[in-house]
Structures are given as C-alpha cells and as structure tokens.
C-alpha cells in the first residue's frame, strides 16, 4: 500500500499527465455523446413512435463488451485517440438519451398545457419550459455518462490512446502489485473527483425553484419509502 503511494509521489508528473489525458478522452467522448444524445432525446420525446427503436439501439450498444467495440471501431479508424473517443461516446450515449427523454416526457402535462394556453410557440415551449425543467435529469444523464466514460477510457491505453489504464496494464504485465495499486488509486480518485464535480454541476444547472437541498441527488430508496408510509 505505502509502496504504491510512494511510487505515485515519485512519478507524480507521469500520473498527472495520464490523468489529464484520461479526463480529455472522457470529456471528448461525453461531449460527442451529448451533442448527439441530447437532441436525439428531445426528438424522441416529441415523436414517441421513434422512442422505442432509438432507446433500443442505444441500449444494445451498452451491452456490447468494450473489447469487441474496440475491435469494430478499429476496423475503420485504426489505433489512437479517435477510436477511443468513438468508443467512449458509444457507451455514454444511452444514459444521456434516456435521461433527456425521461426528463422531458415526465414534465407535468398541466405545466405544458398552461404554457401553450399562454400562447407559447412549440419552440418557446421547448426552450423556456421543457428544457429548463428537464435540465436536472439531463445533467444526471451526463453524470452517469461521464462515469461510464471513465470506465471505458480506462481500457483505451490498449489502442494507444493513453489514460490511467496504461499504469494498470503495465502493472499487470510486469506482475507488479505496486504499479497495479498505484494505477487503481489514481483511477478511483479521479473517478470520485469527476463524480463530485458532475454532482455539483447538476445542482448548479437545477433551476433554484425546483432544487431539493444539497448537491447530492436524493437516494431513490429513501424517497420511495416516504411515499409508501404516506400511502
């Protein structure tokens, strides 16, 4: 344990560079997924007939083992960061599309009707009512997408795209517990850090009127229990 920490401190330059590389991969992948996924989610919320097929395809993508995904993408883009970003985007697409869709479709229909009755055009309705109310859900989707992306990015050193996975794979091939543990520490620390930052962003994006309390999402189980006691 202490060995591993010592190793990390000794090579802090390398670890910081890998962590930065890792974050950039995740940011690029989740960014691509967001640019595709959020409009797609909005679209299927308005055309319910397309919702089934789109959600089905993104669900299926999620099921594909990551190494198989690497193989398929490699056929077209070879080695390198492009392949890594495409793979990460493919896996973080599902939570983003689904959360956007659910966020918009679960808005109280009375609110939508009220906005229509006030004479809002469909465009205004979308931009001033539906998207702001769905933002917390969309942000939660991005948070899940980022977590999934962290996991996917951690095997992308296999396609020469770098990231903290490089340390873990080096440790595994040298059978060095010290290097393996150092890589795991760094990866877990970065994951928790990213999750906390994304939680904060979710809170900031939530319109103050519909905020619950702190930056953490309220656990589902707790809120459900309250409901069942009331009923």
């Amino acid at each position: 344990m202490l060995d591993a920490l010592q190793y990390m401190v000794d090579r802090s330059d390398r670890f910081l560079a890998l962590a930065w590389e890792h974050l950039l991969l995740v940011a690029a992948g989740v960014g691509v997924a967001a640019v595709i996924g959020i409009p797609l989610g909005v679209l299927i919320a308005r055309r319910p007939r397309w919702a089934g097929p789109v959600l089905g395809v993104s669900n299926t993508l999620q099921t594909v083992p990551v190494l198989a995904m690497i193989g398929v993408v490699m056929l077209f883009t070879g080695l390198g960061k492009d392949t890594a970003v495409i793979c990460i985007a493919a896996y973080s697409l599902m939570p983003i599309v689904r959360n956007t869709y659910v966020g918009i479709t679960s808005i109280d229909s009375a609110v939508v009707d009220a906005a229509r009755a006030m004479g809002m055009t469909p465009r205004q309705l979308l931009l001033h009512v539906q998207v702001p109310l769905a933002l917390p859900a969309i942000a939660a989707g991005l948070r899940t997408g980022a977590l999934v992306g962290m996991g996917t990015a951690s095997v992308m050193s296999l396609v020469a795209a770098g990231g903290l996975g490089a340390e873990i794979f080096m440790g595994l091939s040298r059978i060095s517990n010290r290097i393996i543990l150092a890589g795991i520490f760094a990866l877990v620390a970065l994951t928790l850090l990213l999750d906390a930052v994304m939680g904060l962003i979710t809170w900031l994006l939530t319109s103050p009127g519909i905020r619950t309390t702190g930056p953490r999402r309220r656990p589902v189980a707790a809120s459900r229990r309250r409901v069942s006691i009331g009923a």
């Binding site: 299926t60 099921t63 594909v64 083992p65 990551v66 190494l67 198989a68 995904m69 690497i70 193989g71 398929v72 490699m74 056929l75 077209f76 070879g78 080695l79 977590l147 962290m150 996991g151 951690s154 095997v155 296999l158 396609v159 996975g165 873990i168 794979f169 440790g171 595994l172 059978i175 517990n177 393996i180 543990l181 890589g183 795991i184 990866l187 877990v188 994951t191 928790l192 999750d195 656990p219 589902v220 189980a221 707790a222 459900r224 229990r225 069942s228 006691i229 009923a231």
Partner: protein
C-alpha cells in the same frame, strides 16, 4: 490495417470459421465463469438486501457502498484482485460478483420496500409468520424488480467478463488479448463477436424469463 470496406465481412467470417473450435471452447468457459459470478451475486445480494429491509440500520450506507463499487472502472476492480487474491479464474469471479452485487441489492431492497404495506398487514392479519410473509408475499410481489436487477447484473458480468483474461482468467477475452497485442481487429472480433452475441442473448433470455418470474395474477 485498413482494407477495402467490402472485404471486411468476408475476412471476418473467415476468421470466425477458422477459429471455430477455440471459440466454442472459450465460449463454454465464459458461460461457466459468468454463471458462477451471477449465482454468487444472487446468493449474496438477495439475502443481504432482505436483511437490510428488516434492520434498516445503515441500509442506505450499504447500498451506497455497493454503488461506489459499481462506479469503480471494472478493469481497476479486476486488477485489484491480483494483489489481494492472485491470478486465475477465482479472482475474476470474485471481482465480477462484486460488480454484479449493486443492481441486485438495490432492486431487491427497493422492490421489497415498494410492496404495499396494506398487503403485508393483510397477510399478517391472516396469521402468516414473518417468514411466510417474506416468502409468499414480499418476495413474490418484488420478483419482477429482483429479476430485473439480476438481468442487469448478468449482462454486466457477461460483458465485463471479457476483461478477466487480463488477470489470467478464462473466457472469450483470451481470444481478444492476442488480437489487441497484434493490433489486429479481426483477431479481436474473433472473441468479440461471440462475446457480444452472448451478452445480447443473456439480455433477451433473462428478459423473457422475467415474465415467468411474475405471478400470473400480476402479469400485464
């Protein structure tokens, strides 16, 4: 590396046909490892979650902890087993069990708490013991959610089981690792295509089984 597009399918089929024996062996191995891991996750996850619904002390914390385990990138969790347990199938199965625990525990916990209290009261009023209430009322009514959690866990386990090869475990990952080292996408897909089919099959089969897990009266 980048052949003409129309060559891709024929080369893929060729690789798959050439390696069919190995693919079959490794698939069987993969199914075994995944099945053991899913069984382990169910045997640990369901009783622990049931216990948590009874004592409620620290339940949120335990479920939250399982959530943190889930957030750890799977390659990190698998690699962590090397210093702790060593290499081979056993550490791979342990890591996959840990990975599958969260969806099973969370769904069992919320599934049981979601059961209408009125129904539980009615069962008690009929003179059922708490064991009978659990076995004949709560678990039955929560069956759908529990099964859904098992399905999620199983798909995870089958898909991430391909990484077991990196810590010396068996399974289809062993066909993909040499492909990665040679940077030959066809070799990777010789393991990747069967692994994808296995994962999709697991999802479909368990989705189908989910319907039978629900008592007749509750089927929609």
């Amino acid at each position: 590396m980048n052949p003409v597009l129309w060559e891709i399918p024929s080369r893929l089929v060729q690789t798959l046909v050439q390696n069919r024996d190995v693919i079959l062996d490794r698939s069987v191995e993969h199914i075994w490892i995944a099945a053991l891991a899913v069984a382990g996750a169910v045997l640990i996850g369901v009783p622990v979650a049931v216990l948590l619904t009874r004592v409620k002390v620290g339940a949120e914390m335990v479920i939250g902890l399982a959530g943190v385990v889930q957030a750890i990138p799977s390659i990190a969790l698998l690699a962590l087993m090397v210093p702790l347990v060593g290499i081979g199938d056993r550490p791979a199965i342990i890591a996959l069990i840990l990975y599958g625990l969260m969806p099973i525990m969370r769904n069992t916990y919320t599934g049981i708490l979601q059961v209408d209290r009125g129904v539980v009261e009615a069962a008690r009023g009929m003179g059922m013991t708490s064991w009978q209430v659990l076995l004949h009322v709560e678990l039955v009514l929560a069956a759908r959610m529990i099964f859904n959690g098992v399905r999620t866990a199983a798909v995870f386990i089958v898909a991430w089981g391909t990484l077991a090869a990196f810590i010396g475990g068996g399974g289809l990952g062993n066909l993909m690792v040499p492909g990665l080292q040679l940077m030959d996408p066809y070799r990777i897909l010789a393991g990747g295509i069967p692994a994808t089919i296995l994962a999709l099959l697991t999802d479909k089969l368990l989705g189908w089984g989910e319907r039978f897990a629900i008592p007749k009266g509750l089927r929609l």
